[in-house]
Subunit: 436 residues, 2 copies
């Protein structure tokens, strides 16, 4: 007979979503049951898998576990409710219902966290449950736990991440093969690395959601997806890639979150950027993800791994399940949302970076002087200028020192109105030049 | 007036050790007090700094905090006792005294954990306190928390790490400059990257202690420093480095822990190894550290950053202090030692890797056949053979497929006794060839 004070020997897990990630979570709960029980301190029993169509068989999931009663499963009072459906609704309502029923929640839902993380965190606080979401950013790479726990005694200055595998696959191929964006996108779609509608990836929406989550954790400030300045990779040309290569750089879609304005604010942005080939992020190829963190005491760190896929994402979900399970057995909770810093989230104009500017110019005396004056008048200091070609092919390639984004934008405006400048061929931010 | 149930507003911290790391910990506790209080949920008050000579002033530490009564400070009942003295004794006795007085302990002491971690973990369990030690391996890189928490739902197959900055600095210099070991060691000593007595680093003792800690966490099995097969870098020659370079490899001192024998055992080893230049570990240069983890579901991951230094190590210590502080406020504990798997720690002969073998051979018919036969008779499959030079300079460079270490050792023994082989010039393990 069990005494009343003995710890429960079993915890229940309800799974919302039976797709790529959900089926892997179900499989691992079954196949790794003994290891998980030893590590969590109790057996983890899957009580149900909520799906839209419960009649459709799912590989590796016992048919009797399937249910289309998502609301019923979410509010069944399971110890842990795992949400791997994605999207805003019904995921949000289901998570809130689960918390109201006293369940701790593990989710991989980056879009929801970036749109309305505050509501979820407040509900977790109110009901005294855990909200864990390691899988929402950079798949299997342990990243959120290091940021919110390991670095809790340090001050993060900047986070630079490659957090979208689809765009990194495309940019890597463009760099390796010299191919055009459209051709590589088609190849990525054929290989299943890009969706039929690739907008969320190639326009940077997915990366922006992840950037918001990372920024919130790094700077103890609530950041929403809408706060993130966002530019995609659709306008990156084979010519840009070749120009980067010539200068010893590679183009990456970066998610950047950093302290600005004497540490009173943060800017969070997603855009293509040139990165020196000697920077650790430059070697992150194909569908891999990596996040580079600059902290005051710890210095530079990088976390690298698989950013997507059913099994890697499920690994991150399972890690959270074990952590949440331990807390329930101990009657405790993990750290809640930390937004005490309340920094201002500032517009992109307040960001400061270096720039690459490629100008198609008239080949005549005085052009360089006019161009240099446009930079100087806006307070943008030039690092170096290279003239390429002559006559109709004359190009000026300018690289700047660090300048405010607003100053660079004003410079470009001024250059466009100068008749010696036939065309502004390329403008791209340059990141990571000082790290090594 | 505070009600009895209100959480305490202050936690006390006693610091054992006032050297490079200790003074940085004291500085950060003071300079980051507000951030730490917000993140931990209570102010952290430093009650004393235990040192050998309390009369000697320490930069950044108020003189009235210094004490040479280490035993008294350790057993003062502080909420958190931080041990950054290093060495086995008196560190072990002081940590045990602290736990007996109900204090949670944060330590950076890899040597002690590798020698007698079991005793410390058992004491933490007995007294219901935390034992945290993120700073003991790879300095500032969040590594232990990911291994023991984020990957708790996965199965780690292998850990490959560059965990000693001194040797990586030396090997990087040898690779970049073609210099000899002795010259680079002297340079490293002049720059302060190597100790006057470099034995602990260059003979692999430091890396072996860290390998034992990593292996224990990765495989849920107790591993001691003495269980680790250890070879240092003192016999790595400029010639070896050049040969590696010719083949597209770089030599690194690796700490390797992996499942073997159908997952019933682990082998843990530290030795120089050739790593392909395309592997993420190959780009880890100078004093940086990195640990590459291969897990069943998550796939390949890498954690990269500064492995040593006062401020980076202090960052890791502070992260642990915040975690332990949160637990004390919540009346909970973090995960304890996990050794449920009880795998056998097997001898080096049971490891399987690829090999590079460089032979000085007689230039006459039949030599290749004799050499090939020596490999074949020991069941070692040859991947490729290259003949370099002629006459007195004739060399055979053999690279093998994966083979048991014991089989390779027997092969080398056989080659040494063959009169066609004038000298076995170089033998080195090859790691990381299949990862990308």
């Amino acid at each position: 007979m069990t005494t009343p004070d003995a710890p429960p020997r079993e915890l229940t897990v309800a799974l919302l979503g039976g797709g790529t990630v959900g089926s892997q979570v179900a499989r691992l709960l079954r196949e790794s049951a003994d290891d998980l029980a030893a590590r969590a301190g109790a057996a983890l029993r899957l009580t149900g898998v909520g799906v839209r169509d419960a009649a459709k068989p799912r590989e590796g999931i016992a048919p009797e576990l399937l249910t289309d009663d998502l609301e019923g499963l979410a509010s069944s009072g399971a110890d842990i409710v795992v949400e791997v459906m994605g999207g805003i609704e019904p995921a949000r309502s289901l998570i809130l219902a689960a918390m109201a029923a006293g369940s701790s929640v593990v989710t991989a839902n980056k879009a929801l966290l970036a749109e309305d993380g505050g509501t979820l965190h407040a509900a977790a606080e109110k009901h005294g449950v855990d909200l864990y979401y390691e899988a929402s950013v950079a798949g299997a790479i342990p990243l959120l736990r290091p940021l919110r726990e390991s670095l809790a005694g340090d001050k993060v200055r900047r986070v630079l991440g490659i957090v979208n595998g689809t765009t990194n696959f495309i940019l890597t191929k463009m760099d390796e093969d010299g191919a055009d964006y459209a051709d590589v996108l088609a190849e990525a779609q054929a290989l299943g690395y890009a969706e039929a509608d690739p907008t969320a990836d190639v326009e940077g929406y997915d990366a922006a959601a992840k950037a918001a989550i990372l920024a919130g954790l790094a700077f103890h400030t609530r950041v929403r997806g809408d706060d993130v300045h966002r530019e995609g990779i659709t306008s990156v040309s084979a010519q840009d890639v070749a120009a980067a290569r010539d200068m010893g750089f590679v183009i990456k879609l970066l998610a950047v979150a950093e302290l600005v304005d004497d540490e009173k604010g943060v800017v969070v942005r997603v855009h293509p950027a040139m990165v020196p080939r000697t920077h650790p992020l430059a070697g992150v190829r194909g569908a891999f993800n990596a996040v580079f963190v600059e902290a005051e005491s710890a210095g530079d760190m990088m976390f690298y791994g698989r950013g997507a896929g059913g099994a890697p994402t499920a690994s991150a979900v399972l890690g959270d399940i074990v952590a949440v399970a331990r807390h329930r057995l101990a009657g405790s909770r993990g750290p809640g949302e930390s937004t005490y810093a309340h920094l201002d989230v500032l517009p992109i104009g307040d960001a400061t970076t270096r720039y690459y500017v490629n100008l198609d110019v008239a080949d005549r005396p005085g052009v360089l002087a006019a161009v240099a004056q446009a930079f100087a008048d806006n307070g943008v200091s030039i690092q170096n200028v290279r003239q390429d070609g002559h006559g109709d092919d004359a190009r000026l390639v300018v690289r700047t020192h660090t300048a405010a984004d607003s100053a660079l934008a004003a410079t470009i405006e001024r250059l466009r109105s100068n008749d010696a400048v036939r065309n502004v061929v390329g403008v791209m931010r340059v990141e990571g030049e000082d790290e090594r």
